[in-house]
Amino acid sequence: MFKNLASKIESWLDERFDLTPIRNLIYHKKVPVHRTSLWYYMGGVTLFLFIVQVLTGILLLMYYRPGEDSAYESVRFIVTQVKFGWLIRNVHSWSANLMIFFAFLHMFSVFFAKSYKKPRELTWVSGFILLVFSMAFGFSGYLLPWNELAFFATKVGTDIVGVLPVVGEELKIILRGGEEVTGATLSRFFGLHVAILPGIFTLFLVTHLVLIQRQGMHEPEHFKSLPEKEKKYIPFFPDFALKDALLWLIVLNVIIFLALYFPWELGLKADPFTSAPEGIRPEWYFVFMFQSLKLLPAHILFLEGELLGILFFIIAGIIWMFIPFLKLEKLPNKIDILKYFGIIVVIFIIVMTIWGYLS
């Protein structure tokens, strides 16, 4: 009966909108099978975590009240009084962190598989922009509970922006909504977190997904050189989609486990008149940059060390975003310079992050 009803709806829609492209995508899209196929799923997991973020974020919005006198209290109310509020808030926090973790994993897997090469340059660029926006989501969302740690971490984070030449101070005031981190900053970050960023993010996400569906999955070099008979594929639907679903289920279970056994502490309410508590550091995905800035000397030549560090990260980020357009031919002795560059970047991020937490 359901099958009949579904085919009736399908033909009704087909008659009006011509579903051939969608049908082609579903029934004809194939995903290559090889020893590194597992990395294909990282993007899907990131997408799933974004969906979890949207859903839990909407639920949190039902009770969250931005404002110096209400933000902390409302989050406290959510985790103590609202039925399953503790679960939704903790899932939102854990999922946010895992989303950025999987986005990094996805990006580096794409980088080392060289999937960003022609014709997928724009997929890479849109993906990198999505990662930057994800980090902006994290930065703005961190302040929303208006607790002590978030308050001072935001103060430090926005202070760093102020170091930038010419526009730094102005940018800092725009971000904070004034000279200091106050209720105005909270309102701004709230607007950014629940309206501006989701709007822009969705635009880039749709672009990213359309590009992937349009161009299909990237086949690695060794796969391309295989004889046709030895090349293995699985259909995107239902095989790949079901495998995706299987992984999503496991990830969801892990998030709930983390939310239950390792809840995110709310801590003390932010008080601008107290001194900053010990151990103030940004969220883990900013720690490698934060630690690098801390290690730089006060002055390098005629420039401030901190300013030089920030400029370095901005330029490095721009170069990383445009990597598909750089014509870096292999060196004569066949050394893959980009591969080693990528390894250095990964080691740098890991070492600096660990150093940041240990120091």
Binding site: V79, L242, L246, L249, L252, N253, L260, P263
Partner: protein
């Protein structure tokens, strides 16, 4: 804006100039031109405890301010002549009048300290010290015994001998002298006892200057041992409720009849221990048992009061253990803490109400405490149950997830198999 900043800087400069530069000048001028100081210093006959930071010296009074004479004349004969008003060193008996010639006159004192009281001298002569001195007793304390003669500081200056933390030792200079105190029938062990008391520990060990020192109970210049009629007033200046409850109780009249010292009868004087619940009731430490015996109404009342306190203490302790369990489990403890704080407040109030010696009043207060404790326990139980139900819920969800994962895995395997068969 610029003008405001300039004005602030100017004010800051003027304040700095007055405090540091001018202040220094006054002192230097006083000492540099003071012939008493110059000669006595040269001849190395400055008083033993002479301090240039002395409060009088700082105010520009110098030696002649108290001892008379002409400080501007470098001829000793003239400067220290009676014609120039020199009075020399006062005898012990003269000292109160000697200090009092300024300290009893508000027209003089208000120049230096507008709010200072000027009744110290008259108060002193009402004290045991003052009365004895008038009788010619040369051993009793006069002004310099406590304040020193040439190292006098404000009482809120930690260098002062009469600063709260230093008062017990200052009094002990005489009151710890066993041979001297024997003449007056005193034990000379007051400081030893006081140091072990709840007040002494707070003041001397914990440096809590809010805790009472000798003068807070005995008075300063009018120091005298508090009598039967005043003892509860003395304690009541800090322990207000205790005093009020006691005064209205049936016990107050009985105490008066038996010439008992109100608070002191149960709590002692210098060696006042931190009160505990065992002081009430029938145990070995019970103070009720000093007067009451089994069968009399006081005995029963004591037993009843002790029971109410014990029950509240026990239930509070078990609630606190539950709170710790809630905290260890990482659950919400905020409301439980608040309720237990209120219950603790009720317990403290119940202990204070002991001074009414009315079991019903204590029961009323402990019942309030029980109510708070029970609410706290109820909340703690809810949080502990919630802790386990969350874990059970997770276990159940994991089973559902696992079934779905296995089902999907089998379906995928089946699909791969049928595709293989098709290809073959």
């Amino acid at each position: 804006m610029k003008n405001q900043i300039f004005l602030i800087w100017m004010l800051f400069f003027v304040a700095w100039y007055n405090v540091f530069v001018e202040g220094q000048n006054i002192k230097d001028k006083t000492l540099d031109e003071d012939q008493c100081f110059i000669c006595h210093k040269e001849m190395e006959i400055l008083p033993e405890n002479f301090s240039e930071s002395d409060v009088h010296m700082k105010a520009g009074l110098s030696c002649a301010g108290c001892h008379g004479g002409d400080a501007s004349n470098d001829d000793m004969e003239i400067a220290m002549s009676t014609g120039r008003g020199f009075v020399g060193v006062p005898t012990r008996k003269e000292i109160p009048q000697f200090c009092g010639k300024c300290h009893s006159k508000i027209e003089i004192m208000r120049v230096y300290q507008p709010r200072i009281s000027t009744d110290q001298l008259s108060q002193y002569y009402t004290s045991v010290h003052g009365m004895q001195l008038r009788k010619g007793d040369q051993n009793v304390a006069e002004c310099v015994s406590c304040h020193t003669s040439h190292s006098i500081y404000y009482s809120n200056d930690p260098r002062s001998t009469v600063y709260a933390l230093n008062v017990p030792n200052t009094c002990n200079n005489c009151h710890g002298d066993k041979r001297l105190m024997e003449k007056y029938g005193l034990k000379a062990n007051e400081l030893t006892e006081y140091s072990k008391s709840v007040h002494g520990i707070a003041l001397l060990e914990n440096k809590d200057i809010g805790a009472p020192a000798c003068n807070d109970c005995h008075g300063n210049h009018g120091a005298t041992p508090p009598g039967i009629s005043s003892i509860s007033h003395v304690c009541g200046t800090c322990h207000i409720n205790n005093e009020q409850y006691f005064k209205k109780s049936s016990m107050a009249a009985a105490f008066e009849e038996m010439d008992y010292h109100g608070c002191e009868q149960c709590h002692g004087n210098h060696l006042i221990n931190r009160p505990n619940d065992n002081m009430v009731g029938m145990g070995d430490e019970s103070l009720c048992m000093d007067c009451h015996s089994e069968g009399d109404p006081g005995y029963e009342a004591g037993e009843e009061m002790k029971n109410y306190l014990t029950l509240l203490v026990n239930s509070y302790n078990s609630a606190e253990a539950k709170l710790k369990d809630v905290q260890n489990k990482g659950m919400n403890d905020a409301d439980i803490i608040l309720l237990l704080q209120e219950a603790k407040q009720n317990l403290i109030q119940s202990r204070t109400l002991i001074h009414t010696f009315d079991p019903l009043k204590i029961k009323e207060k402990t019942d309030e405490g029980f109510k708070k404790v029970n609410e706290g326990v109820k909340l703690a139980d809810f949080e502990i149950n919630e802790y386990y139900s969350r874990r059970n819920g997770f276990a159940l969800a994991t089973v559902v997830f696992l079934i779905l994962v296995i089902a999907l895995y089998l379906k995928l395997k089946d699909m791969a198999k049928s595709r293989k068969n098709k290809e073959a």
